[in-house]
C-alpha cells in the first residue's frame, strides 16, 4: 500500500512541549514512528561544573517545571550522599510531603491534558481548577507556585510550620469529594472509556523489556516503585504500590487517579507524624566521590549521577529522566494504531520534554 508521512509536532495543539514524530501511515494506520528530539535542549548538565554545587540546586530545579521540587531534591540527595550528610528527620518528612504534593499537582495536570487530548474540554478545565488549589498551597508554604527553591544541600532553606502542614492536609482532605467527582468521570464515563479502553495495550513483559518506568510500567501490572526503597521518609509510611493489569491507556489513567488518593493519604500520615526539630544541617565539606541516586517522580524513575573532586564545582552531573526512558515504549506503542488515537497514546506517557532534553 502507498505510504504517506505525516509530521506530528514540534508544534502541535495536543503537545504542551515541542516533540516531533514523523508518522509513516498506510491509509489511516501508523506503521512506523520516527521521533526526533532536541528542540528545547538547554545544556543544564554542562552548567554544573561552572556553578558552585550549592547554587546549582536552583539550576537543577529548573530542569522541569512540573517535577521541579523532585529534581532539586534528587540533586541534593545525591550530593548529600557523596558528602555523607545525615539529614534531620523533620527535613526528610517535609521533603517527602512536598514530593507527594508535587505528585498530586502533576497528576491533576496530566488528567487535564489527557482530557484535552481526547477532546473533553469541560473535564480539562475542572482538573486544572483543582490543581490551582494545590498550587496555592505551594505558594503559601514555599513562596513559589511552580519553582519552589526550598530544597538545599543539607535540608530545607525555610521551615514550614506544623500548623501550615496540618492545614494543608485538611485542605486536601476537604478537596477529596471534588477530586472524586472529577476522577469518577475519568474512570466511569462512557465516552472517556471509549477513547481509552483497549487502546495501546502493552504487556508486562514488553513494558519491562522496553525499559518503561512509572505509571506506564505499573499500568501494565509490574509493581515497581522506587519509593519502596524508603528514601527520605517513605520508609515510615504505610502504603502499597498501585498497579493495574490491563496495560492500556485506561489502566495508565487509573494508576494516576489512584495515586492522587494515595498521595493525599500519605500527606495525612506525614502531618500526624511530623517531628519538631531543625530542618537543615551545616554543609562543611565539598563533594568528593561519585554516586547514583534514584527517585520516583510522578512520571517514573529518575536517575541522577554526581561526581565531585573535592572542590566547590562538580566534575559531572547527569540526569536520566522518566520521559526519556518511556520514549522507546511509546514509539513501539504508536505502531499499528489509527492516526486519531496517536495524541491520546502520546499523552499517556505523560511526556515532559524539557525534562527529557535538559
Amino acid at each position: 500500500m502507498k505510504q504517506t508521512i505525516v509530521p506530528l509536532g514540534p508544534q502541535h495543539p495536543v503537545l504542551p512541549e515541542p516533540l516531533s514524530f514523523d508518522l509513516v501511515l498506510e491509509d489511516e494506520k501508523v506503521v512506523d514512528a520516527i521521533p526526533s528530539i532536541g528542540f528545547v535542549h538547554r545544556g543544564l548538565e554542562l552548567l554544573a561544573p561552572k556553578r558552585d554545587f550549592e547554587e546549582y540546586v536552583y539550576v537543577a530545579e529548573r530542569i522541569c517545571g512540573i517535577c521541579s521540587f523532585m529534581h532539586g531534591m534528587g540533586y541534593c540527595q545525591a550530593v548529600e550522599e557523596v558528602i555523607n550528610l545525615q539529614l534531620p528527620r523533620r527535613a526528610n518528612q517535609l521533603r517527602t510531603m512536598l514530593c507527594e504534593l508535587s505528585r498530586i499537582h502533576s497528576h491533576l495536570l496530566w488528567l487535564g491534558l489527557a482530557a484535552d487530548a481526547f477532546g473533553f474540554e469541560n473535564l480539562f478545565m475542572h482538573s486544572w481548577r483543582l490543581r490551582e488549589k494545590v498550587l496555592d498551597l505551594f505558594e503559601e508554604m514555599t513562596g513559589g507556585r511552580v519553582i519552589f527553591s526550598i530544597a538545599k544541600v543539607g535540608g530545607l532553606r525555610k521551615d514550614i510550620s506544623t500548623e501550615t502542614i496540618r492545614r494543608a492536609s485538611k485542605v486536601l482532605r476537604d478537596m477529596l469529594p471534588e477530586i472524586k467527582e472529577i476522577c469518577d468521570v475519568f474512570l466511569n464515563d462512557a465516552s472517556v472509556k471509549h477513547r481509552l479502553c483497549g487502546v495501546a495495550v502493552m504487556s508486562a513483559e514488553n513494558a519491562h523489556k522496553l525499559g518503561a518506568v512509572g505509571p506506564m510500567l505499573r499500568g501494565s501490572g509490574v509493581a515497581k516503585d522506587l519509593r519502596v526503597s524508603g528514601y527520605a521518609s517513605y520508609g515510615e509510611l504505610q502504603w502499597e504500590i498501585i498497579t493495574e493489569k490491563d496495560g492500556d491507556c485506561y489502566a495508565r489513567c487509573a494508576v494516576r487517579v489512584r495515586e492522587i488518593y494515595q498521595s493525599i493519604d500519605m500527606i495525612r500520615q506525614l502531618a500526624e507524624k511530623l517531628e519538631d526539630g531543625p530542618v537543615d544541617t551545616k554543609v562543611l565539606a565539598a563533594p568528593k566521590g561519585e554516586t547514583f541516586m534514584r527517585l520516583e517522580q510522578p512520571r517514573g524513575e529518575v536517575v541522577y549521577y554526581v561526581r565531585g573532586n573535592g572542590t566547590r564545582f562538580l566534575e559531572r552531573f547527569r540526569v536520566r529522566t522518566p520521559t526519556f526512558a518511556n520514549v522507546p515504549a511509546v514509539v513501539t506503542l504508536l505502531k499499528g494504531h489509527e492516526l486519531a488515537d496517536i495524541p491520546t497514546i502520546l499523552l499517556t506517557i505523560d511526556p515532559c520534554i524539557s525534562c527529557m532534553e535538559r
Binding site: Y58, R129, E140, G143, I147, S149, E181, I182
Partner: protein
Amino acid sequence: MALFSMLGTAVKSLLRKPATRLYPFEKRQPFERSRGNLVNHVESCIFCGVCQLKCPSKAITVVRAEKTWTFDRLRCIVCGRCVEVCPKKCLEMKNDHAAPIGPVKADSVIVQKGPAPEAQTPPAQQ
C-alpha cells in the same frame, strides 16, 4: 458504563460563581512567603559583592570602587539566594510582583548608586 456523568458537575458550575477572578479589577493578595521581586535598600549596602558571587544566574553586578549595584530583572530567577547571603541584610524579597518591563530590553536593568563619599575638606590654609 455511565453516560453523561459530567452533566451534574457541569450544571453545578453553571450555577456557581466563576472559579477565576476578574483580574485587573479584583487582585489576589500575595502570600507572605511569595517571592516577587528583589529590592536593594542601597543606603545600607556596603557593595561587598557577595550577592554577585552567589547569584546562580549572574543577574547582579557590583562595582565596589564606583559604589554601584546593577541588577538585571530579566536574568533574575527569583531564587532568593542573594537575600540569604547578604551580610548587611539590605536586600529584600518583596512578595508582590514588579510592574512589567516595557519594550526596551535595557529597561530591565536597574542601576543603584551608593551615597557619594563625603567631600574631603581641604586643610584650612593659613
